[in-house]
């Protein structure tokens, strides 16, 4: 079994208008920039994007936003891209603001077959409004539902051709949980190796979660977002 695709276009051929897409990354760190770039070229729209942020202005998911292809964004921190606030104010974008830990756990639950869970986070605040509240051992909690995507676009450091993944430093963030929470998972990586070259003990995302692998052509450097070739 070899999951390596020759291009991002090939890997994303099955993504359709109106789908829910999980996108890894914390800001641009650990964000699958090559796959996002391909989304900006593809003829699909009305997307629901689940991601901690919507990139930065004109960068990463921020570019997709400016194209008007995002119908709804679900995330924890949109402040870092002022275009999000503007699109929301104009009524061009729906937003669901979720506390960061709740977002991560909803995805984890989505991947683990758990339909919902209770957490104290957001209880008694504006973000807890309308949620079912339950008292457990004298403390109040809100019910949070799992979150899943049709597709997950994630960023890892190395993959073997089977789809086993390891990550690089804080570029890991939401990527492993998103890999578990979608029907079709594409991983963008810096390096692709043969099975056996990654030590079984070091693998973070085992291959059963991953459907397609693509080599990164757009990466984050000290200077910012850069295209690389070869």
């Amino acid at each position: 079994m070899n999951k390596v695709k020759q291009s991002a276009k090939e890997a994303l051929a099955r993504v359709k208008t109106g789908e829910v897409i999980l996108v890894g990354g914390f800001g641009l760190v650990g964000s699958p920039l090559t796959l996002i770039e391909e989304l900006t070229k593809a003829d699909i729209e009305e997307l629901t994007i689940v991601s901690n942020n919507i990139g930065e202005s004109g960068k990463g998911l921020g570019k997709l936003l400016l194209q008007g292809k995002i119908k709804k964004a679900i995330g924890s921190y949109f402040t870092s891209n002022r275009d999000v606030g503007a699109a929301y104010a104009e009524g061009k974008l729906e937003l669901e603001l979720v506390p960061q830990g709740t977002l991560a756990e909803r995805l984890r639950a989505g991947g683990a077959g758990i339909p919902a869970f209770y957490t104290a986070t957001s209880c008694g605040t504006d973000l807890g409004r309308g949620k079912e509240v339950r008292q457990i051992d004298g403390k109040e909690y809100v019910l949070e539902r799992q979150l899943r995507g049709n597709v997950a676009l994630i960023r890892a450091y190395k993959a073997d051709t089977l789809g086993n993944l390891i990550y690089y430093k804080t570029a890991r963030n939401f990527n492993p949980v998103m890999a578990q929470a979608a029907d079709y998972v594409v991983a963008e990586v810096d390096e692709i190796v043969e099975p056996g070259e990654l030590k079984p003990d070091e693998i973070v995302t085992p291959h059963l979660y991953v459907d397609a692998i693509v080599k990164a052509e757009i990466i984050l450097t000290k200077e910012g977002v850069e295209h690389i070739h070869g």
């Binding site: 402040t79 929301y88 949980v177």
Partner: protein
Amino acid sequence: MADVKGMIAKRAAQELKGPLIVNLGIGIPTLIPDYLNDTEVYLHTENGMLGVGPYDESNVDPNITNSGKAFVTEEIGASYFDSAESFAMIRGGHVDVAVLGILQIDEHGQIANWAVPGKDIIGVGGAMDLLEGAKKVICTMMHTTKTGGIKLVKKCSYPITSTRKVDMLITNLAVFKFEEGEMRLVELMPGATIEEVERKTEATFVNCIGKENREEA
């Protein structure tokens, strides 16, 4: 201004005596590493790292950042983990202290730090989770807004971050503790007077300077 914020960060750093797992929020808390010299204070950042080291101009890796997206370094003994695990650490009570930047605080110790009515600030990040899960919460802020507006209020006019009450507040004028249902003034910052603190504080507080028996003492 930077110096005043540095003074607040320095005072907050004095509260951090290892061994301790500490999460530093955005704003003034990001200045705290400059004043930390306890090798047993281990910094956690919610984007997935324990053992955060200070910024080093000669050693920048664009894929090692803190929750404020600033470049940081890796201490010996550091580890990386995904966001779900990072917040399991926070919610699960494994983080000893969270130091947060805030916008408003009321006399009971409830805070607001994620939204301003009428402004396009659409972000909550990990603030609500940290308030629920950190064993101790220390807040830092300038005592008033840039235009002199009151931030230590009777009741927050901005949306609260949690119903949980924080433990301590450090401003450029004073240090307060929230103990036994009281907001207690325990210290004046250099150059501040009790009159100035009273004038710039709407919240009811008890002046305990000189008569408190501080646990740390």
